[in-house]
Symmetry: C2
Subunit: 365 residues, 2 copies
């Protein structure tokens, strides 16, 4: 919040551009200014995003200064810039919601963080596409330093979404089955790995594509028990699968439309389907009998909301991060295959996600 | 179960028709035989249903003999005969699932029932369209005799469905709002009355129809706070309503399709929609954002399943019946407006429900 207020003031006062850059030493500049990707309007033209020099306020008693190490480019970041996300930042704003920072300096009243700690922002809207930030202590939470930079920079959205969905909606014991679509997404891959670590079986639905066998192999190498295309599920059903594993009590849907229907219709009696995305941009179609005679429950999950609800309960947030880190340390959960993009080459990363091609990009500061 | 076994045996042995009816006294016949509406195949041709004389087995130590007083004709009864209901009885079978009987005779080990008690069958598939029955004690539960015959004969499906849906899915305190469609159905009318008794506000959606004003008046006289047609909700929304009452935490959907969407889209953040019917025979269409950003939960309710789950917990069943009877006694819940049809004129009642015209019929034995 402090950052956003200062940013608005800086823009108003015309202080955004450092006019005498050559006069400043690198160390002095890193303490007083940061480079940040700023947007000044909600627009689909992502080229309006500009790298700017923003002043950093001095560190107060309860605040900390961090140097950002890495920040991914997620679809929600783009939706936020475009103005189509349910949470929008006051303009002008810095892009990016997720990322890893290192604490450089702490105020005299700060107790939970020390210089050298790795930290991630708790709430959406932090503006992680920047080299440095000064913020309140309680906007951040520390993460262990014995996982990779990429793992830590991408831990607090996708793996935590997978972790919560596998824990919070059904009581699943080893041997139980989970069915999902969008199985190749970052969350989908985390679901496969965390489920395997918990002894759960996974049925993973993917879209048909040219490199299908390759993808099936890749997901199976992560621990997927069954990987089937939508067409295969529609044409032959899952009868054969259900001779080997029980019907799923939990379904995870990130697609909607027809694909969501495939998850729903293969749930066990009394099962729960959790929707956390709508990639197909088509509504779920649900017959009354699914509710009445199959007793299914449909719920949604949005980690941002979950984190806001548990904002004051840092022990709960910490427990989740510790559990996910422990899986990473044990080699049971790998960081996503990312393209590491130098911060100044940000436009490659933005174009890649807008055109939905290739791997996730992580900006390296 | 005993009844059904004997019925099958009687049919096999050609005993169904009493060949020497004139030899039997009325009292002897009532003890040893009953008239029943029997179907021998699952068919959409309801004319195949026949009034037959069925032998009654002697009353055993743990069984009771009842004289049926009244039994409604509900849509589920027809679906069961047609073979399209998820619960089907072994054939041949007696039609009807709900009804009121009077206990005539009890076995020596029967403790919960006495001659003269009013009783209703607990489970679906009892075959209530008959003049008498002999069954196990635990197939029946008693109802108080200080409510009307019609009230008691129709208490255990529709009012109990309304009662449970208002209690089991959201914590509702006086002043909270409930939104429903199919508001003129038997369940819908019970919802209006029970909600009013609990101090809840109701928003009631109806289909547009010629006698709309009359229906609005009728539902308001039952306690409905707002009655609107689907067209009104679609064209003007409920903004004005929500200036007076809070957005509903609970929505009840018996229609599906567009109408179900109107219930869903007007729910409060975190609300629950319960589907208990699909009259429009069209699926619900639900966008992902309802789940993710509105945090709605969708569930189903089927009283038959609820009763099976609580079959052993007669105290729970009794508590529900007592609560609903208390509302009836207090004049807060009226028996549905029914056409009382003499049992032998059953074909009128069946035709009426198949052609979906007019009031609910209750067969009077």
């Amino acid at each position: 919040m402090v950052i956003r207020r200062l940013l608005r003031r800086a823009v108003r006062d015309g202080m955004i551009l450092l006019r005498n850059r050559q006069k400043c030493s690198t160390a002095w500049r890193a303490t007083h200014y940061c480079s940040a990707l700023v947007y000044r309007e909600h627009t689909h033209n992502i080229d309006t995003l500009r790298m700017e020099q923003l002043p950093l306020p001095p560190v107060g008693d309860c605040s900390v200064r961090v140097h950002m190490l890495a920040a991914p480019v997620n679809p929600a970041d783009i939706n936020m810039i475009q103005g189509s996300y349910p949470i929008l930042c006051p303009l002008p704003a810095v892009g990016g919601n997720e990322g890893l920072g290192e604490v450089i300096e702490v105020g005299s009243n700060v107790t939970s963080l020390r210089p050298g700690d790795w930290v991630v922002p708790i709430d959406a809207g932090f503006g992680t596409w920047r080299t440095g930030a000064v913020c309140e202590e309680d906007e951040l939470i520390s993460v262990p330093k014995d996982i990779s930079v990429l793992g830590a920079a991408t831990i607090f959205v996708n793996p935590c979404t997978a972790y919560r969905m596998l824990r919070d909606f059904q009581t699943l014991s080893p041997g139980c089955t989970v069915i999902q679509n969008a199985s190749n997404s970052a969350v989908g891959q985390a679901v496969i790995q965390i489920a395997a670590a918990l002894g759960l079986k996974t049925i993973n639905i993917i879209r048909d594509r040219p490199n299908c066998t390759e993808l099936v192999d890749e997901l199976q190498s992560l621990g997927a028990d069954y990987v089937l295309t939508e067409e295969e599920v529609m044409s032959t059903g899952l009868h054969q699968v259900f001779e080997e594993v029980p019907k799923p009590k939990l379904g995870l849907n990130c697609v909607g439309g027809l694909s969501g229907g495939l998850v729903l219709s293969n749930l066990d009696y009394g099962g729960t389907m959790v929707t956390y995305g709508g990639m197909a941009k088509r509504p779920l179609q649900i017959p009354a009998k699914s509710f009445i005679f199959q007793d299914v429950t449909l719920k949604g999950f949005w980690l941002t909301q979950w984190k806001r609800k548990h904002r004051e309960d840092k022990a709960q947030l910490k427990a989740m991060l510790d559990a996910v880190c422990e899986l990473m340390r044990a080699g049971q959960l790998s960081a996503p295959h990312c393209v590491q993009t130098p911060f100044h080459q940000y436009s490659h990363a933005l174009q890649a996600i807008i055109q939905s091609h290739g791997r996730k990009h992580v900006l390296i500061m």
